[in-house]
Symmetry: C2
Subunit: 199 residues, 2 copies
DNA sequence: TTTTTTTGACTGAACGATTGGTCAAAAAAA
DNA sequence: TTTTTTTGACCAATCGTTCAGTCAAAAAAA
């Protein structure tokens, strides 16, 4: 069925797909989903419009694909929490890696935020986001309980809000000279007093 | 020269304008600016498409009008800061009134956030937003200095981020059962220790 | 009072531009 | 040859916007 070696074929496919996806991320993040036309994506990717429909069924499927990939990245920082250790250290690591994730790919997060705050988001996507949020809240609460923080649940909500707020400001309002590192360290440091003294 | 009394005329005009603006806020907030059509606004407002252009030059001017009104509301909570008093009390008041503002008109804030996180925002609007943000930061810093908080500038950034983060979560992610009051009180309470003991 | 004139809010068909999406055919690779 | 990638002209639908025209009501005239 395939006259070409499937391996090299896949390389070509992947290359074209990547070009399209990167162009789409760039434009969706900057202009928003609805304000971005298929033609402009194709132009940015350096391909013909028709080819886009060879790889993606529709504009919304292209968005879906990007969102799926982006959201799966979010789970990564969670992995470090499995191993045992001082909850203060684990919390610091979680916060560090969460911020690092955003810093390394601002465009992607701009897109995610713009989609979530835009029109009636596809229910599926909203559900994934909501579940992600719940996951963060639970882990925060769990760690706060370990740390014996007075009101673990409330504190979890507050930390989640602070992190998202910092991200928002960093990404949108004050991209130049925003003291991200300092704020990050201050957030982490406030929990230092809960570190266990044991050896 | 004027066959109809200008006073009654103005009433009619105001009524229609309000109908259009309310419909636009609703739809812009829910669907986003670009995904909302003029036809749908007219339909929701219960008027003909043409009438919209009798009152507004264009779709973007309609958005501008709404944004201008919305942004002017933001300055209100600032007014209370002029009078003298314990900075802790003033801070509490500022936080209270800021949250109250959002709670009383979620749709408007959804719209504001969606516009700010959407496509390349009109430069004018972004400037206003940025200035607003700077204003908040400066007031926070000033109050923190009065309160003798260790790192007033950093703490200002953090508080601004927390407030915006809480708003974001309240508005979008967890509208049902979000413990807004509790978080608000916790935020306020953390500064209680800086209250002056003097009489 | 009754009639006529004048106003501007309001309508909806129609406009050109642009959209997301299709498809026959060329190009490329085997 | 066969298969797949790639192209760009093309389509119907929808977009924001325009505009000729309707109509209820107020002012002016009788």
């Amino acid at each position: 069925m395939a006259p070409r070696t499937p391996i090299q074929l896949e390389k070509v496919r992947a290359k074209s797909r990547t070009k399209i996806i990167n162009a789409a991320i760039e434009l969706f993040a900057r202009k928003g989903y609805h304000a971005t036309s298929i033609s402009s994506i194709a132009a940015k990717a350096g391909i013909a419009k028709g080819l886009l429909y060879h790889y993606f069924k529709s504009k919304s499927e292209l968005l879906d694909e990007i969102l799926k990939n982006s959201l799966s990245e979010v789970d990564e920082p969670m992995q470090a929490l499995m191993m045992p250790g001082d909850p203060v250290d684990k919390m610091a690591l979680l916060i560090e890696s969460t911020f690092a994730m955003v810093q390394s790919d601002i465009k992607r997060w701009k897109l995610l935020v713009s989609i979530m705050t835009q029109y009636e988001v596809l229910i599926r996507i909203r559900k994934i986001f909501s579940k992600m949020m719940q996951g963060y809240l639970e882990i925060f609460e769990h760690l706060f309980k370990e740390m014996k923080v007075p009101q673990p649940k409330l504190e979890a909500y507050r930390l989640a809000a602070t992190i998202d707020g910092v991200m928002l400001h960093y990404i949108y309002y004050l991209p130049d000279g925003y003291p991200l590192e300092e704020i990050k360290n201050e957030i982490i440091q406030q929990y230092a007093k809960y570190r266990k003294k044991k050896k």
